[in-house]
């Protein structure tokens, strides 16, 4: 019987620990367990046989760590080890009267993926795919991805299985008692993401005992209707004089197993510390159980690893990461100025956006490559789920693949050509999708026609296996100034779609007011109308307080904010007096030194404005700002002020520079061009705080700093230095091991004959070493970097 069918009809008993058993049979600390497949195959086979005799119907081949990285230098090839593991498992199962299912066991790679570590998602995929090929080839019945703690790594592994095999796939992750994995993944996010990715069963294993995992599974079961696998440890370990002991014995373990089965768990096994004795008792118990039919889930949800968002109340989608009509964002996308884009994300999240729309569509850039980069970097600092906004299938796929969690795609429409291209991607990558109620004939004027298109989209989606809860319909907002008559049609369409299709709805609210004065008033009035009609997800600018206020008030009036709790709490925060700043009594132009030294942004801006009334822009920079910064720099050198204060001073000066730049562009003067500097943390290194400090300080001396980020390949530095013709390149490395990359980068710059100077910095560097590796300058701190920049660029 096929495993999928068996799983539907039976409680499935997995095996218990392999590692614990190997240790009992002589595996020493530091030995690679998978090597025993070759050196002591009889032990591995004996363990499988013991589990089969105890009643395991699924046995897990000894391949948990059989990936190319972990096996490096073990003396055997990955192929040898996996082939042998499968042979052993098959041989152990051969004389059993009933079918034993052999799971190829796949655990974490052991290196952390970007953005936490340096292993790329694509490389992780490759590593897993190699394991999957071999598992298929040597006759696995199913794949078990287990003990994962990073949802992103899990996603890479799931895609590696699903793109290269049609075998059943069971996935488990390990959680801590705080209900998160080490990397911060929530139970809900695991469930929502893996269910959408279409795996066969999910669950929790390792890390904790049955008692501690129980409440976690109680939560898990609310978030999924997939079969659930639980493999707890035999309680918590304690180290005694005679070795490791686990706190839960086989009898207790079985009592817990019964509770799990009563809860609806239909796949059960053991992890660390469990033995055939445990499995035998559980298997005996399971004979009295059949899998329960669990109710289908009906909620709409999207997530990032650390945050699951249910569309059960109004959820704001922030619209600001979209270059249309935004000069600065266009510039940032062109220059890949990630900081600006990330700041847009952070400020929207702070203002109350729950989901962020991301659009990287500019004619002159590689939309899909930029989408991939922006998605990854936003997720490195933000917990908001994202909405990939593009009409280009390639960009949509790039975003979907790079995304960690379950996102939204914006958008498809009623055209079959679009639906047949994009919906398979939505299904494959497990996303929700926005459907626009338009087709080849344009936007229908009448609400009923829009409903018809919405229905077509829903049906098409269902035909691709995308449930209706994951289809969000956008009934389209036409601008009131041009099509005033149709405004109410949109409202009506929202009502119809809600009533007849029961789907969640989206609207780009700000479109309503194009061409009208006082747009905010029109926007928020329309928002109120749309919310009343059943709008779930307005796409808007959350940085406009009136819009967010409208939603807060709506939650009160629509009985969603029960007892007005959130509303009152929010109003109370407004009532509190703003934090008292260390004010100076009157702003006098001579106080600019003080304002900058103390990092007082507001005062610095104010004084700069006063100075602008009497001085040239460049004079202010050269006679006031730079000397003030220099003074702070000198104090820093003398040890009178510290790094945080130096940075605050630099940031205050930045506020002044911003005022001056505005003045210059309004006076038609050309900007401050002190020259470009590239900074990068070298290949292999991920400690970038030092580089970022240097960047902030240099920028605030008026230099244009191009930040290539961290873990930057040698070629990228050379390529960018050549392309941008920068006179100065700054490289940072923290580790002795990554100083090599620094040396290689400098050598490559020389070899390519790039006429630039280099400066280097980092904790383990010294003046001598900097010289030795061919750097022109050694910057021991950010202040020194400024001195170097002045020398090279003036």
């Amino acid at each position: 019987m096929d495993f999928r069918k068996y799983m539907k009809e039976n409680i499935v008993i997995f095996d218990g620990a392999m590692g614990t058993m190997l240790q009992q049979n002589g595996l020493k600390t530091g030995e690679i367990p998978e090597v025993l497949n070759i050196t002591h195959s009889e032990i591995v086979e004996k363990i499988h046989r013991m589990y089969i005799q105890s009643g395991s119907r699924v046995i897990t081949a000894n391949t948990f760590g059989a990936n190319e990285l972990k096996l490096t230098g073990c003396g055997y090839s990955q192929r040898q080890i996996i082939q042998k593991a499968m042979e052993i498992a098959k041989s152990a199962a051969a004389d059993c009267p009933h079918k034993i299912y052999i799971a190829q066991d796949i655990g974490p790679i052991g290196e952390l993926l970007e953005p936490l570590g340096t292993l790329s998602f694509e490389r992780a995929y490759e590593i897993y795919a190699n394991q999957v090929f071999m598992g298929e080839e040597y006759g696995a019945d199913l794949f078990l991805l287990e003990t994962m703690t990073d949802l992103y790594e899990m996603k890479a592994a799931v895609l590696a299985v699903k793109e290269n095999s049609s075998l059943p796939l069971v996935c488990t992750m390990s959680f801590e008692e705080n209900r998160r994995t080490f990397t911060g993944c929530e139970i809900s996010s695991m469930a929502v993401t893996l269910q959408a990715l279409g795996v066969d069963a999910i669950g929790i294993n390792c890390s904790l005992g049955p008692e501690e995992i129980f409440p976690l599974v109680e939560e898990l079961i609310k978030w999924t209707d997939l079969p659930i696998l639980v493999q707890p440890n035999a309680g918590l370990p304690s180290l005694e004089q005679d070795g490791l002991h686990y706190s839960v014995n086989a009898e207790e373990f079985t009592l817990w197993a019964e509770k799990y089965m009563a809860l609806g768990v239909s796949l059960f096994g053991g992890c660390c510390g469990t033995t055939p004795e445990y499995i035998e008792k559980v298997a005996h118990l399971a004979r009295g159980y059949k899998p329960e039919k669990r109710p289908e889930i009906s909620f709409s949800a999207v997530c990032s690893p650390a945050k699951t968002v249910c569309i059960d109340q109004v959820r704001v989608i922030g619209e600001r990461i979209n270059p249309t009509g935004k000069k600065l964002l266009k510039e940032a996308l062109r220059n890949r100025n990630m900081d600006y884009i990330l700041q847009q994300g952070l400020s929207q999240q702070a203002a109350g956006a729950t989901i962020l729309d991301v659009n990287t569509g500019l004619p002159e850039i590689d939309e899909s490559a930029v989408m991939r980069q922006v998605v990854k970097q936003l997720q490195a600092v933000l917990d908001c789920p994202l909405q990939i906004d593009s009409s280009d299938a390639k960009t949509i796929e790039a975003g979907l693949r790079a995304y960690n969690g379950k996102c939204i795609v914006n958008s498809v429409n009623g055209e079959d050509a679009v639906l047949d291209t994009v919906l398979p991607l939505i299904k494959k990558y497990g996303a929700a999708v926005v459907g626009l109620t338009l087709d080849n004939n344009g936007i229908p004027l009448k609400a009923e026609q829009r409903l018809a298109i919405a229905r077509h989209i829903c049906e098409k989606a269902e035909s691709y296996g995308i449930p209706r809860r994951d289809v969000f319909i956008d009934c389209l907002v036409l601008t009131a100034s041009a099509q005033q008559k149709e405004v109410m049609e949109t409202i009506k369409a929202v009502q119809l779609v809600k009533t007849h299709l029961g789907v969640k709805t989206v609207l780009g609210v700000s479109n309503i007011s194009f061409g009208l004065p006082n747009r905010e008033l029109i926007n928020r009035t329309f928002l109120t109308m749309a919310l009343t009609a059943g709008l779930d997800m307005p796409i808007l600018n959350p940085n406009i307080p009136a819009m967010m206020d409208t939603i807060r008030a709506f939650h009160v009036l629509s009985f969603q904010d029960i007892n007005s709790k959130e509303y009152i709490a929010y109003q109370n925060t407004l009532a509190q007096p703003a934090e008292k700043l260390a004010e100076i009594p009157q702003t006098d132009v001579n106080d600019i030194d003080y304002a900058i030294a103390k990092g007082l942004k507001k005062q610095t801006e104010e004084i700069t404005r006063q100075l602008l009334q009497e001085h040239d822009c460049l004079d202010i920079v050269n006679e006031y700002l730079i000397p003030a910064l220099d003074k702070v720099g000198d104090d820093f050198e003398k040890g009178i002020v510290f790094l945080p204060q130096l940075i605050q001073a630099a940031e205050a000066a930045k506020a002044a520079f911003t005022v001056i730049k505005e003045a210059m562009s309004s006076r038609g003067e050309s900007g401050i061009h002190k020259g470009k500097i590239i900074v990068a943390t070298v290949k292999g290194d991920i400690h970038d705080i030092g580089k970022n400090i240097v960047k902030v300080v240099l920028e605030n001396y008026g230099y244009e700093v191009i930040d290539l980020g961290r873990d930057v390949p040698v070629e990228t530095v050379v390529e960018q230095a050549e392309k941008l013709q920068v006179p100065l390149v700054g490289l940072s490395a923290l580790m002795t091991t990554t100083l090599k990359s620094m040396e290689q980068t400098i050598a490559a710059l020389h070899q390519a004959n790039i006429p630039c100077k280099t400066f280097v910095g980092g904790a383990v560097l010294t003046e001598d070493y900097a010289k030795k590796i061919g750097a022109d300058f050694y910057a021991k701190d950010a202040k020194e970097a400024v001195t170097i920049a002045k020398k090279v660029l003036g």
């Binding site: 600390t29 530091g30 703690t149 911060g184 945080p644 204060q645 991920i686 002795t736």
Partner: protein, 225 residues
């Protein structure tokens, strides 16, 4: 971890680059930043540690532990020369802190630098507390610990981080990963060897900076105080 973590504010000031000054002597605004960062830190960390005990013997390459494990280098051999056994340990503050420090670099660089310094003080503190807990469990009367010795100290190759990762099952037990360049992730993580000695050998180099190659060229060092 059972004990509350207490951050030494003077040490934070030193990590911020001023070895002559104490917390009391710095600017009020900076004092407040440090206090804020300590409050913030407490909400961001999930301290965890793991350890294992081994027998230890000097061998030509360094120190050989049971199970065929070898710690490489003359310096570790010297450090453990009077020890019949040792522990390998690892401790971490967790991933969430790294993420917050990265986020602050975009919104408030100055505070990010302060939080980073507080975090460095905190991981040292966590290691000290872990060491105390472990001592309660495993040290017999008359025994004590040497100072901690980590890969990258003296001539012990940083590449031995992999050994710690494997032997202590770091990714599974405490969520620490090692990158290709042997960097520990989360960044506020430590791996170390601690020797178990009967009586403190008077000749032994002690103190955290004893084996540091930068000891004569360092702004943060305690040994120069």
């Amino acid at each position: 971890m059972q004990y509350p973590i207490k951050i030494d504010k003077d040490e934070v000031v030193r990590y911020l680059g001023c070895r002559e000054q104490s917390f009391a002597s710095v600017d009020k605004q900076l004092q407040q930043q440090i206090r804020d960062a300590i409050i913030q830190l407490r909400q961001l960390i999930q301290p965890k540690y793991v350890y294992k005990t081994f027998s230890a013997a000097v061998c030509p390459e360094g120190i050989s532990l049971d199970g065929g494990i070898v710690l490489l280098g003359k310096d570790i051999a010297h450090h453990l020369k009077s020890c019949g056994s040792c522990i390998l340990m690892a401790a971490t503050l967790g991933h969430q802190l790294d993420r917050e420090i990265a986020k602050l670099q975009l919104t408030n660089m100055s505070q990010s630098v302060v939080l980073n310094a507080v975090a460095i003080a905190a991981i040292e503190q966590v290691c000290d507390l872990a060491q105390e807990e472990i001592a309660c469990h495993i040290l017999r009367p008359g025994e004590s610990f040497t100072s901690r010795f980590s890969p990258g100290y003296g001539d012990m190759p940083l590449a031995q981080q992999y050994l710690f990762a494997q032997v202590l099952d770091l990714s599974r037990k405490v969520g620490i990963g090692v990158t290709e360049s042997f960097i520990l992730v989360p960044s506020k993580s430590v791996t170390a060897v601690i020797g178990i000695i009967k009586e403190l050998d008077k000749d032994m180099k002690q103190g955290k900076c004893a084996y540091c190659r930068l000891r004569d060229n360092c702004d943060f060092s305690r040994c120069q105080r």
